[in-house]
């Protein structure tokens, strides 16, 4: 028998970490279903299945223990993040393509669990929005009330993708409207008064989903699954730049509230940018990482060509991780007053 100290171990495991992340997403999903229809449940199921199957396949190819790695939950977390960032009524194969790409290329070709330099879910989003820009921007129009069966039919392509469904995210709608309305003198406050798309402080419906993500994220922090640095820095940076521009010209820039509760901001701050594998590990590094992601997300979503910037912002920051961590190494015990 060779057993090494410590003999006492805390009750911790990778699957427990991943399960808690999934649990923390549940409030957001619940609000999503309630306000925007149950289609997201189909997407979650499709993505999870695709993730587990492709993970199993590649584990087998790589000769890794199947049960051990399938049960770690990491593939499911990736799948859920993909489903939650894709349009809920996207065709099923789009989610499958994204998920398989995330698991096979972004995760396993880089060495599997713990080795991927980029956030797999965000790679899936980036790949799909570049390859299928039209499908990735078809969001259900507000006020479209479809039954579960109808939604399922759309997702599985058994029903024509009616025009009513070719809506846009509130972020996208705002950007397009601003672009179109630049000459006609339409400004942000006027646009936001349009209660069809916009709710109390951000996109109608979406704002509450984002609020629920915030809640789940806080719970993760309380449980010690994530640390405060990334979300706080992300939100602080996003708030700072959006406030600055909003104060500077409230007619062309939306308020910080709008930005915080629109698109992938909350999901990004608490669930995506906090991914430990592809993010910074040092406390100061996390502040830099979070702030950078928040800032870039704003710049891309407001000035860039894509409806939302969180995915690209996180991927860009992923590239910078080694350098950031190198410069942010904390001093060790007893060496604090040394240069």
């Amino acid at each position: 028998m060779f057993k090494s100290p410590p003999y006492l171990l805390q009750d911790a495991s990778v699957s427990r970490v991943m399960t808690q992340v999934c649990l923390a997403l549940v409030p957001g999903i619940a609000v999503y279903v309630w306000l925007l229809g149950p289609a997201i449940l189909i997407q979650l199921a499709v993505a999870s299945l695709a993730a587990l199957l492709s993970e199993a396949l590649i584990l087998r190819l790589r000769g890794k223990p199947l049960a051990l790695f399938l049960s770690d939950g990491s593939a499911v977390v990736t799948a859920w993040l993909i489903a939650l960032t894709f349009p809920p009524l996207a065709p099923w194969w789009l989610v499958v393509v994204g998920t398989v790409f995330a698991i096979v290329v972004a995760k396993h070709l880089y060495g599997g669990l713990g080795q991927n330099p980029f956030n797999p879910a965000m790679i899936a989003f980036a790949v799909c929005i570049v390859s299928f820009p039209a499908l990735m921007s078809q969001w259900p129009s507000q006020g479209l009330h479809l039954s579960l069966a109808e939604q399922a039919n759309i997702v599985f392509g058994l029903m024509p993708r009616v025009d009513a469904l070719a809506g846009a995210t509130p972020l996208d709608a705002l950007k397009t409207a601003l672009k179109l309305g630049a000459e006609s003198g339409i400004d942000v406050p006027a646009l936001l008064a349009n209660q069809d798309i916009y709710g109390n402080f951000a996109g109608r419906g979406w704002e509450w989903v984002a609020a629920a993500y915030l809640l789940g994220g806080l719970w993760l922090w309380l449980r010690g699954v994530i640390t405060w640095q990334v979300p706080v820095a992300f939100i602080a940076a996003l708030t700072a730049i959006s406030t600055a521009l909003w104060v500077y010209q409230p007619t062309s820039f939306a308020s910080p509230f709008f930005h915080l509760f629109s698109g992938g901001a909350m999901l990004g701050a608490f669930f995506i940018a906090t991914d430990p594998v592809s993010g910074c590990t040092t406390p100061r590094g996390k502040l830099v990482f979070g702030a950078g992601a928040g800032l870039l997300a704003y710049l891309i979503r407001v000035f860039g060509g894509y409806p939302d910037g969180v995915a690209f912002a996180v991927l860009i920051m992923n590239i910078c991780v080694p350098v950031i961590d190198l410069f942010c190494q904390p001093p060790i015990f007893g060496m604090k007053d040394k240069p």
């Binding site: 060779f2 060790i332 015990f333």
Partner: protein
């Protein structure tokens, strides 16, 4: 209220201390045979002064301290020396070391004990007395106590920290000692205080030991001393010397320095107790308190003789039938002793009966997910996952850059890791490898220096020889020229050039070949970079560790070692 500081990191494992504190300290039965290792402290190995057949009395000197950093060893009871021979040691590798085997006569007769009034002695004499009585740090590091009782000349001694924290789960021997023998602990602290003359004396006890704190406070009051008994928050490893110093004084002692450089010295409560017994009662250290706990029916603290076989001692606590091993020390930093016959030594504070029920085997190791839990738990604020990464890649230079030698092997990182990576094992492995390489490098450097010296000498000799030859040739040529001139004819013979380089180059080639062979062997013997530490690697770690304990360890790394 006393202002406390915080140390970063640390963990809160279940303490499991209540089991062994319900009963008072008891005396362990006299074993049939004792094997007292001579090397029980950091520093020189004491020389045996008895031989097989000698009769000894309890407390009689059997091993004479060798050098200043070394402490004497004594017969734990009266009886007959049966052998002075190699016996198994309480060490992960199960190495043997020279031990004095004593068969007790059952009388337990003491030598003549000579209590002294240390107030009348010069400080050097007190230190010598402590050395002669074999007083060493009983918190686990077993550094000879007298070696820590000289104040640094350049730095004023500000705080004397007494460690009664006892932060490891399961261990309660210091707790019971403080509860039952607080007065003698306080008197022992008085000796240290008088020798070191610190400005303050701080006794740190984890706040999960209210009885011990109350007993110490009462004893301090009764003696009219000004020591502060401080309850420190229960958090492992609060009892690590550096952590306790940090909590009580706010000072952080870097790995490369001694605490005395910062005006602090630290002793364990049990060390203070034995110092008092040695001075005031003339009793050398022949026994110690050992917590018997874990998978046993009767957990309790026992006063056990040094040299008692661990298996025999643990039997007193009635281990459950599924016990399959003995952990010496706590579950965080202790280790499974490879042999039940390994003796209780001065460092043995606790024996835990091991079973898989009590300590379930770790689930399979997963890849690191860089969650940083380990870094948040590390009391030395290291980045364990980076160390792990580099240790696994055998990039030992990088592990040193990430301060692997600051790691105290406390196990907090392994304790929290969700991927169940045995991080500490990797760190021990890396440290052993670095040590082994240093040694090899030193050896190679020595050989190289010898080689170069010899080469230089050879070259000098060669040059001298060539010069001589040239001179002789010149002389000869001159002579010949003269002769030739005289003979007006004849050929001038050319002298052969000193082409005698061949043996030299050959020798050099031989040496180089030998070095290359040695390197190849080293590489062949080195374990391959497998995903996990293989049994082979682990065996290697154990073997290197065996050497490491035997080798003279640089003393500065020990006065403030993990538990003392």
């Amino acid at each position: 209220m006393f202002d406390l500081f915080k140390f970063k990191g640390g963990v809160k494992p279940p303490t499991n201390k209540a089991q062994s504190t319900t009963l008072p300290i008891a005396a362990a039965p006299l074993p049939a045979r004792l094997a007292v290792p001579l090397h029980q402290s950091i520093g020189g190995t004491p020389r045996p002064v008895v031989k097989a057949g000698d009769t000894v009395l309890k407390g009689q000197l059997i091993g004479q301290a060798d050098g200043w950093i070394s402490a004497a060893v004594h017969a734990p009871t009266s009886g007959t020396v049966r052998a002075v021979a190699m016996r198994v040691q309480p060490h992960p590798s199960g190495l043997d070391a020279l031990s004095v085997v004593i068969e007790p006569d059952g009388q337990d007769r003491w030598i003549e004990r000579q209590p002294v009034d240390y107030g009348k002695l010069a400080p050097e004499d007190v230190r010598e007395l402590l050395q002669a009585a074999g007083v060493v740090g009983l918190g686990g590091a077993v550094f000879p106590t007298h070696g820590k009782l000289t104040a640094a000349k350049s730095v004023p001694m500000e705080e004397l920290v007494i460690n009664g924290a006892e932060c490891e789960p399961f261990i309660t021997c210091d707790d019971l000692l403080m509860r039952e023998r607080a007065d003698e602990v306080v008197r022992g602290i008085g000796i240290f205080r008088d020798l070191l003359q610190p400005q303050r004396v701080l006794i740190g006890v984890e706040d999960n030991k209210p009885e011990a704190i109350a007993a110490l406070e009462a004893a301090v009051r009764a003696r009219g001393e000004s020591f502060s008994v401080v309850a420190v928050p229960t958090r492992y490893p609060a009892g690590g010397a550096k952590q306790l110093i940090r909590v009580l004084t706010g000072k952080e002692v870097p790995a490369a320095r001694r605490s005395t450089d910062l005006g602090v010295q630290c002793f364990n409560v049990a060390t203070a107790y034995t110092a008092w017994r040695a001075i005031a009662h003339g009793e050398p250290v022949v026994s110690r308190l050992v917590t018997l706990t874990g998978n046993v029916r009767q957990p309790r603290n026992y006063e056990a003789l040094i040299g008692t076989p661990m298996g025999e001692l643990l039997a007193v606590a009635q281990p459950n039938p599924d016990t399959d091993g003995i952990i010496m020390g706590g579950p965080m930093m202790g280790f499974l002793v490879p042999d039940r016959d390994a003796p209780v030594v001065k460092a043995t504070n606790c024996l835990i009966a091991h079973s898989d029920r009590l300590f379930p085997p770790a689930p399979p190791e997963m890849p690191c997910i860089r969650c940083g839990e380990c870094a948040r738990a590390c009391p030395h604020e290291l980045q364990p996952f980076e160390l792990y990464w580099f240790a696994r890649a055998r990039n030992f230079g990088k592990t040193q850059e990430y301060a692997i030698f600051d790691c105290i092997e406390c196990g907090c990182c392994s304790y929290v890791c969700p991927s169940r990576i045995p991080l500490v094992q990797y760190f021990r492995f890396a440290k052993s490898e670095i040590w082994a390489r240093e040694r090899e490098k030193n050896a190679a450097d020595g050989a190289k220096a010898r080689f170069e010296f010899k080469q230089q000498r050879d070259e000098r000799e060669k040059a001298e020889k060539a010069e001589k030859l040239a001179k002789a040739a010149a002389a000869q040529a001159a002579k010949k020229a003269a002769e030739a001139a005289a003979a007006a004819a004849g050929e001038a013979k050319t002298d052969p050039a000193p082409a005698a380089l061949d043996p030299e180059t050959a020798k050099r080639a031989t040496i180089e070949a030998a070095m290359a062979r040695a390197k190849a062997q080293r590489e062949a013997a080195a374990p391959r970079n497998t995903d996990n530490l293989s049994a082979e690697q682990q065996a290697e770690v154990a073997a290197i560790e065996a050497r490491r304990t035997q080798a003279a360890v640089p003393p500065q790394s020990h006065p403030n070692g993990p538990t003392e």
